[in-house]
């Protein structure tokens, strides 16, 4: 991925906005921001962002490529859509945030060890296996994300909720082995493979 990063730096030298427009989902909206700040003020997790969305948009236009793509900020987005609802220019801010995070990941320069980023990867790996989310394994993997000792601690802390979910039929121990799948698992795998091929071709073209 670092080759892609070098290639992109070369291609869009000094024009990070163009790079974002061409490669980030909904990136061509960035130039529409009029810096009113209503997104930043409306974000329920706003205090946890190093750079609120409005600032990220300004940084993109100012060409602060590394500071934006390596930022943890867009990983803080929980998709509550408050910013999209309130944006006076109807910018799809949530989508742009996820687009930036995804693009940074493709380039291999996303912040390492960022918890939301780690969870997103766990979720994808889990989902891509059977076409259905295996909640039991997702939970277990999440608890042990930060090592064995931490994992045991978290798991014990959550035991009550886990047992409650088992009783209510919201969680099944059968999921430990195999787990439920989509009806046509082979077709699902083929579909994902094709999508990844298309995406790779698109990235190659962009370079």
């Amino acid at each position: 991925m670092s080759d892609l990063n070098t290639g992109m730096v070369e291609k869009y030298r000094n024009n990070f906005l163009k790079e974002v427009e061409a490669n980030v989902e909904e990136g061509d909206w960035v130039k529409m921001c009029m810096q009113c700040g209503v997104c930043s003020g409306s974000c329920p997790l706003g205090t946890d962002w190093d750079h609120p969305p409005q600032e990220l948009f300004m940084m993109i236009r100012a060409g602060k490529r590394e500071e934006v793509l390596q930022s943890t900020s867009m990983w803080m987005c929980t998709s509550c859509y408050n910013c999209i609802v309130r944006c006076p220019r109807e910018l799809p801010i949530t989508h742009i945030m996820h687009g930036l995070a995804h693009y940074a990941t493709r380039l291999g320069i996303e912040p390492k060890g960022q918890p939301t980023r780690q969870f997103a990867q766990l979720f994808w790996d889990n989902l891509a296996k059977n076409g259905r989310v295996n909640e039991l394994w997702l939970g277990v993997n999440l608890y042990f994300m930060n090592g064995l000792v931490e994992g045991v601690k978290v798991a014990l802390g959550m035991a009550g909720i886990g047992l409650g979910m088992l009783k209510a039929g919201r969680l099944s121990l059968k999921e430990l082995v195999g787990g439920h799948t989509v009806k046509d698992k082979k077709g699902f795998k083929a579909m994902i493979k094709k999508a990844q091929e298309l995406e790779a071709a698109r990235v190659d073209n962009a370079q």
Binding site: M34, Q35, G37, S40, G41, H51, Q54
Partner: protein, 428 residues
């Protein structure tokens, strides 16, 4: 009503606000016959509700009086108040308008002595003050009302109060049997000057206009300054009558926002800059004004005014569209939350009173408009040949301040004059 003479050479002016008055005067003073249709009981429109004009900070009552005198002196102008155009048929040079005239229950004998108002007890919301207070069931719309004639609220009819009003009148001016009338008027050209209305602040949900007493609109703030207004000219806030020294203005409240009005309403920046001087006028150095803005649009000569306000140490400018307002339950203060654009600082600022610089919504409704008309996405009437002899004036055509509305009205009068001149030539 049947004594009104209207022909294909008559210019019909719909709306008697500053634009309608201007168009009517311009046409009448070059000798054209003009009929003004005004929905409310008196002419003058929203200008009558302003305390001061920007940028000169003079009183609108002055210019209004001049226009009213010009109208009263001109025999070519007929004014119908409490009247609305319900239908319009025909084409340039040959229109027929259907006009519904509501009963005023007071005839021209009225001397505005006020005996009827003293006699009655029932009270109704006072529209002149944006319903912030009540007026009696027999009332004069406001001090400068033209015609200077009382009105009996239709809610009074059939009550003992109405009879009391009638009995109190020494001039036999009250006629409780007055009925609604529908009349038809000919016209060669129509000037549409129905003006604007403040955008419904309740729709801007995050600002809590509907649930926080001390969040008001700019048009309401304007009324607080009137010595005859709801607070008798005192700058106090609604919740507890406390003096409002620490006042926040929020710009683009409903404007430049695809969730509300798409257009820039043009007047709000200057209105807030002007209103910031009201706070200084009342409280001197104790005034503490904050203006929250996206960008200040004070164009051309208005920039001098903007600079003057910027130089005022008691006024702070915060570049930020406020995200939401909550109420401090202990003292009733609105708390403004947001992030500014000059440093991206998160704030939670408390103020005595918050004024929403409310946007300007055209009072043109395309769906119920009586004749085919070109209306743009923002709801204003376009200048288009398809409109025939119907010409928009003032805020029916765009978001305009008084100065530009008057210019627009003059232009519309000229267009209307050209149409009726052609009719006159054809008729010989």
């Amino acid at each position: 009503m049947s004594d009104i003479v209207a022909t294909n050479q008559t210019i019909l002016v719909v709306g008697g606000g500053i634009s309608g008055m201007t168009a009517a005067l311009e046409a009448a003073e070059v000798g054209k016959q003009v009929i003004v249709i005004e929905k409310t009981p008196s002419v003058g429109g929203r200008v009558t509700k302003l305390y001061k004009y920007f940028p000169k900070l003079c009183f609108p009552t002055c210019g209004l009086e001049i226009n009213q005198r010009r109208m009263a002196a001109n025999k070519n102008i007929t004014v119908l108040t409490m009247a609305e155009v319900t239908d319009l048929q025909g084409e340039a040079g040959d229109y027929t308008a259907t006009v519904k005239v509501s009963p005023r229950y007071v005839n021209s004998n009225c001397t505005a002595c006020g005996a009827c108002a003293d006699a009655v007890e029932a009270e109704f919301d006072d529209e002149h003050n944006y319903n912030m207070n009540k007026h009696k069931g027999a009332y004069l719309p406001h001090n400068m009302a033209m015609p200077k004639r009382y009105v009996i609220d239709p809610g009074m009819i059939g009550s003992d109060d109405a009879q009391k009003a009638k009995d109190a009148c020494k001039y036999d001016a009250i006629d409780l049997d007055m009925q609604e009338e529908t009349i038809e008027l000919k016209a060669g050209a129509v000037v549409w000057a129905t003006g604007w209305r403040p955008y419904d602040a309740n729709k801007i949900q995050p600002y809590g206009y509907d649930r926080i007493a001390n969040v008001i609109t700019s048009v309401e703030f304007e009324r607080l300054m009137d010595p005859f207004g709801p607070t008798e000219g005192k700058l106090v806030r609604p919740s507890d009558g406390k003096e409002a020294k620490n006042v926040a203005f929020i710009q683009c409240a409903g404007s430049r926002d695809r969730n509300y009005l798409k257009h820039c309403s043009r007047i709000c920046c200057m209105a807030s800059l002007k209103q910031s001087t009201y706070v200084s006028e009342k409280f001197g150095d104790d005034a503490d004004v904050s203006i929250y803005y996206i960008d200040i649009r004070a164009i051309d000569r208005f920039d001098n005014f903007y600079q003057k306000v910027q130089d005022d140490e008691n006024v702070t400018f915060i570049k930020s569209k406020v995200a939401n307002i909550v109420e401090n339950k202990e003292n009733g203060n609105p708390v403004l939350n947001g992030v500014d654009t000059e440093g991206y600082n998160r704030y939670a600022n408390e103020h005595d009173l918050v004024v929403l610089a409310i946007g300007m919504e055209p009072s043109v409704d395309k769906d119920t408009f009586p004749i085919e008309i070109k209306v743009n996405d923002e709801g204003f009437i376009e200048h288009d040949e398809a409109n025939g002899g119907v010409f928009a004036a003032g805020c029916s055509s765009d978001a305009l301040d008084v100065n530009r509305a008057v210019q627009s009205a003059t232009a519309s009068a000229l267009r209307a004059i050209q149409v009726v001149n052609k009719v006159a030539q054809a008729e010989g």
